[in-house]
């Protein structure tokens, strides 16, 4: 497509972030900084054991400690609240309460909560609570948990397999029968998590006179689902006001995370004073409900001798931990782009969602599809190795081509647009791929182990909620997952945008919203004010997550701007005695096309709208210049009843090529980066510097998952990585400098052609780094099929490979 990109003034500019002035002086307004008059503090007592019946709880000593207002246990929680919201299959069989009631199901599960005049006293009181546990057998290995006779995490379920089903998309049998080669592997993606530096926190206030519950919190993006929170708190849905506070990082982990605000709310109602509860780091590590995917794969990839990829057979066991709050939505996400950027014709997907005595999973940047990217890319590399084809060539050969979009993959999801060969060529050029291969050859001659990993993968954006329910046969209907904005031009002509979700968690919502408003009205973005509205007076919003926010809020702004501008044009048209179609918005004014001196400033129009409505034409129905707009998912379709086609549910698909160059020390298992290149296609770019920041930050997190981070549980179910001395987050010494390139293939279906881009870094890096390490160790024939890749594992793999060589 050789169409000219429309000229834009603000979208695409590197403007400084509007968020930064307050962040740089330490005044972001985090919930932990909030103090309300009369506020008291909560702490929780965590279970020290992974699986045990709660026989008795003696809180008498804790209750008599000076400064303690209340101690709440699981039995009282059953009196005070309803079960927690749960989107999993058949929640009545694995009911999730705010605190453990009959038994504890993982080490760290909250058993009691204390409210006291300060946090120190609350924690003192936790230490005085005496809980009698009757130990139960522990199950931590998901494959063991699937076996008959395994200890049951939830007896009512009768099994630890919360969900299992095999889906077939396309003619898998035929494609495998006709294949020249089938490559197989067993892959393990261990559990890591978002670990934002700010934990989840909330301050709740309850007014018994009005029945109004106000909760300030840094989690819960879905305002249209807050009735579920109200239900758990046993208050009417119109008596809950959730006020979003800027979050000190989330990466998915705060997009729901309702337990903290619900706990604060329950306690505030109970003690009649505002209550603050902020997780400490151990709470966040052990019981945040937001550990990432934890998967065991057996995969077969069918290919032809010329490198054509035909079909994928995937069997996956996912260890969800003790509860399953989002069902298997993370696998819905996987199915959105399960064939990667390739023309793979059929897919079999066999899923076992297993419960064990561990913390439950939640959302983490990628929501499951980062794992599938890694699996598919690892398998494509294996096929390349088996067939003796260069890893770049096999990708190039199988790419969906630019003229084939919109492209429907076997699962039914659509890829809107793309230019995968273009991205690949850009990345190869930026990295100097030929030069790198030459350098690698020379390094090998010198006895050094240098590897080059090249991967190409997808970043789906803007989810439709079908991914949460197409697993089940009952038809539900398509949830729009809308995003809303209120735009107001005041009597002085100044514009305020109000956002309704938990929109700030480290990306740049205010900057981006200001850029879009500036584009729509032709004003300077620094003049736009962006605020966050509470839910009680708010509009439906879904917030960041699934790389959706920029697209969705841009659509909402366009809609609201259109309403305001229509009204302004009517006013200006009457005053200037010119037809509306002859007017244009430019430089903070409405002016006559071709006669720019004939104009009205925004202030002049706005003053009329607010103060002199009765002088205006009768088609102006009311005073003011304010518009709400709720933007619904622009493109999603229903799954077929037989689920052989899941419909379109994640259609705006970005793409990236990452190239990692790594040297491995085969004596110590240590590695170092020689180069890292990332080329992304996120459609139209709104703010290049901010996008680059998202990419590099995502690379750092991907690197953590790939090399360093893991929630390690021992056979007793104890979390061994309960501090940052053991759970290793990459520092500035580990994260390489990332060289970034962009390709812009606008989406034909989204506002301005934007595609989501918040998760891409983390969705690409694991595959690129593993490929580079495997390539570095190619002289040994090492296969990298597990993350994290620790030095010990590298040495073990080398030893194994040497033993194999000796044996043969």
């Amino acid at each position: 497509m050789a169409t000219m990109a429309p000229a834009r003034k603000w979208i695409g500019q590197n403007i400084p972030r509007l968020e930064d002035p307050r962040l740089l002086v330490g005044r972001p307004g985090y919930v932990t900084d909030l103090v309300l008059p009369g506020m008291v503090h909560a702490a929780i007592l965590r279970s020290p054991v992974a699986h045990a019946r709660i026989v008795a709880i003696d809180a008498s000593k804790a209750r008599s400690l000076p400064g303690v207002l209340a101690v709440v246990t699981g039995q009282e929680v059953k009196e005070l609240t309803n079960p927690m919201p749960d989107f999993g299959p058949d929640p009545s069989k694995h009911t999730w309460w705010l605190l453990a009631t009959d038994k504890v199901r993982y080490a760290g599960e909250p058993v009691a909560a204390v409210v006291a005049t300060d946090r120190y006293v609350a924690e003192d009181a936790c230490a005085l609570i005496d809980v009698t546990y009757e130990p139960l057998p522990v199950v931590v290995d998901p494959e063991e948990a699937m076996k008959p006779g395994s200890p049951l995490v939830h007896e009512a379920l009768g099994s630890n397999v919360a969900y299992s089903r095999t889906f077939v998309f396309g003619d898998v049998e035929r494609d495998f029968a006709e294949a020249d080669v089938v490559v197989r592997d067993h892959l393990r993606w261990n559990r890591s998590g978002a670990q934002p530096l700010e934990t989840v926190g909330a301050v709740a206030r309850y007014d018994p006179a009005t029945g109004m519950m106000t909760i300030y919190c840094n989690s819960v993006t879905f305002t249209f689902l807050l009735f579920l929170v109200a239900n758990t708190l046993r208050i009417p849905s119109n008596k809950l006001d959730v006020i979003p506070c800027p979050a000190g990082g989330s990466f998915g982990s705060k997009f729901w995370a309702v337990r903290v605000p619900i706990l604060a709310g329950m306690l505030a109602k109970l003690v009649g004073r505002p209550v603050k509860f902020v997780e400490d780091r151990l709470d966040n590590l052990a019981t945040s409900d937001h550990h990432g995917s934890d998967r065991i794969y057996d995969v077969e990839l069918a290919a032809m001798r010329d490198g054509t990829l035909r079909s994928l057979r995937i069997k996956v066991i996912d260890d969800y931990g003790a509860y399953i709050q989002f069902g298997v939505g993370t696998h819905g996400n996987s199915l959105a782009q399960v064939v990667g950027p390739y023309k793979i014709q059929s897919v079999q997907y066999e899923l076992y969602a297993v419960l064990t005595n561990k913390c439950q999973q939640g959302a983490y940047r990628g929501f499951g599809s980062e794992v599938t990217n890694w699996v598919v890319e690892r398998m494509v590399d294996l096929a390349a190795r088996e067939l003796g084809i260069d890893p770049v060539e096999i990708r190039r050969k199988n790419f969906i081509q630019p003229h084939e979009f919109p492209y429907f993959i076997p699962t039914g999801n659509m890829y809107d647009s793309g230019n995968y060969p273009g991205v690949l060529e850009k990345a190869l050029q930026l990295a100097d791929y030929q030069g790198l291969r030459e350098m690698q050859r020379r390094a090998r001659e010198d006895g050094r182990y240098v590897g080059i990993g090249v991967i190409s993968a997808q970043e789906r954006s803007v989810f439709s909620a079908t991914e949460f329910w197409f697993w089940f046969d009952q038809p539900t209907g398509i949830t729009s997952s809308p995003e809303s904005v209120t735009l107001k031009m005041d009597a002085m002509g100044n514009i305020t945008a109000t956002l309704y979700s938990q929109a700030f968690w480290g990306q740049s919502p205010e900057t981006m919203v200001a850029q879009v408003v500036a584009e729509e009205f032709d004003i300077d973005p620094s003049q736009v004010s962006v605020i966050y509205g509470g839910s009680a007076s708010g509009l439906p919003a879904t917030g960041p997550g699934g790389s959706r926010f920029t697209i969705m809020v841009a659509g909402a702004i366009q809609g609201a701007a259109r309403r305001i501008k229509d009204k302004m044009l009517k006013i200006a048209s009457q005053r200037l005695e010119v037809a509306p179609e002859d007017l244009e918005f430019a430089e903070g004014a409405i002016r006559v096309r071709g006669t720019p001196e004939k104009r009205m400033t925004f202030q002049e129009v706005a003053t009329l709208a607010y103060l002199f409505k009765l002088d205006l034409p009768p088609e102006i129905e009311e005073s003011g210049l304010e518009a709400n707009y709720t933007f619904d998912h622009p493109y999603t379709t229903m799954p077929s009843p037989d689920r052989k086609n899941l419909g379109v549910f994640y259609p705006f698909v970005g793409h990236a090529c990452h190239i990692a160059v790594i040297e491995v020390d085969v004596e110590t298992g240590q590695h170092r980066f020689l180069k890292y290149v990332a080329v992304h296609d996120a459609g139209t770019v709104v703010n290049p510097r901010s996008l680059n920041g998202q990419i590099i930050g995502g690379v750092a997190q991907g690197l953590g998952t790939t090399m360093y981070e893991q929630f390690v549980y021992n056979s007793e179910g104890q979390l061994l990585t309960g501090s940052y001395m053991d759970y290793l987050i990459p520092t500035a010494m580990e994260v390489p400098r990332v060289e970034i390139g962009h390709q812009e293939t606008p989406s034909p279906f989204t506002p301005y052609g934007i595609k989501g881009a918040g998760e891409g870094g983390r969705m690409m890096t694991p595959a690129a780094v593993c490929a580079a390490i495997e390539d570095a160790l190619a002289p040994f024939g090492v296969r990298v099929n597990e993350v994290p890749v620790t030095p010990e594992k590298i040495l073990h793999w080398i030893d194994e490979a040497r033993a194999r060589q000796v044996a043969s």
Binding site: D20, G26, P196, G249, G697, T731, V735
Partner: protein, 161 residues
């Protein structure tokens, strides 16, 4: 509680007298008693560096220092970096290079860089990376922070000429 101590501290040039429990962390004292909430608590076990403040000229982790230990000390927090509403050149550089995303590590990172640049006015990229390796950032991947510190060094060198 009998176990209380009178302390005198100077924070960002302001003198304070207070009575604190011996177990009160300096971070909690700064945040809860003085209202200086720019000092953030990320891990409360001395690894993440978000709570870094400068105490008598050296960076410390205020989650590993008791308020009583700061008796008589001169402390600078992030609130002391900007003067009269003017951002410090380090803060300016962090803004221009987008060395900030969520802002939670930022105060600690700024104070770490502040101390480092005083001793190393012309640092290499490698030296900067090593200097900030004790401060975790979960958002940026550090690259723009490194660029911001390099930029700040250049601006401060010009300013001091």
């Amino acid at each position: 509680m009998a176990d209380r101590h009178a302390i005198n501290v100077t924070v960002n040039g302001v003198r304070y007298e207070a009575t604190v429990e011996s177990r009160l962390l300096l971070a909690d004292f700064l945040r809860d008693q003085l209202g200086l909430v720019g000092t953030h608590l990320g891990c409360e076990h001395g690894v993440c560096g978000a709570c870094t403040v400068i105490l008598d000229g050296r960076t410390v982790r205020s989650c590993l220092v008791f308020a009583v230990q700061a008796d008589g000390a001169d402390i600078m927090t992030v609130e002391g970096l900007s003067r009269d509403g003017q951002l410090h050149p380090l803060q300016e550089a962090f803004r221009d290079k987008q060395g900030v995303q969520c802002g939670f590590c930022t105060p600690g990172m700024l104070l770490c860089a502040y101390e480092f640049l005083q001793e190393h006015p012309q640092p290499s990229e490698e030296a900067i990376r090593e200097a900030i390796a004790g401060n975790l950032c979960r958002c940026t991947g550090y690259q723009f922070i490194v660029e911001a510190i390099q930029e700040a060094a250049a601006r401060m060198a010009v300013a001091s000429r």
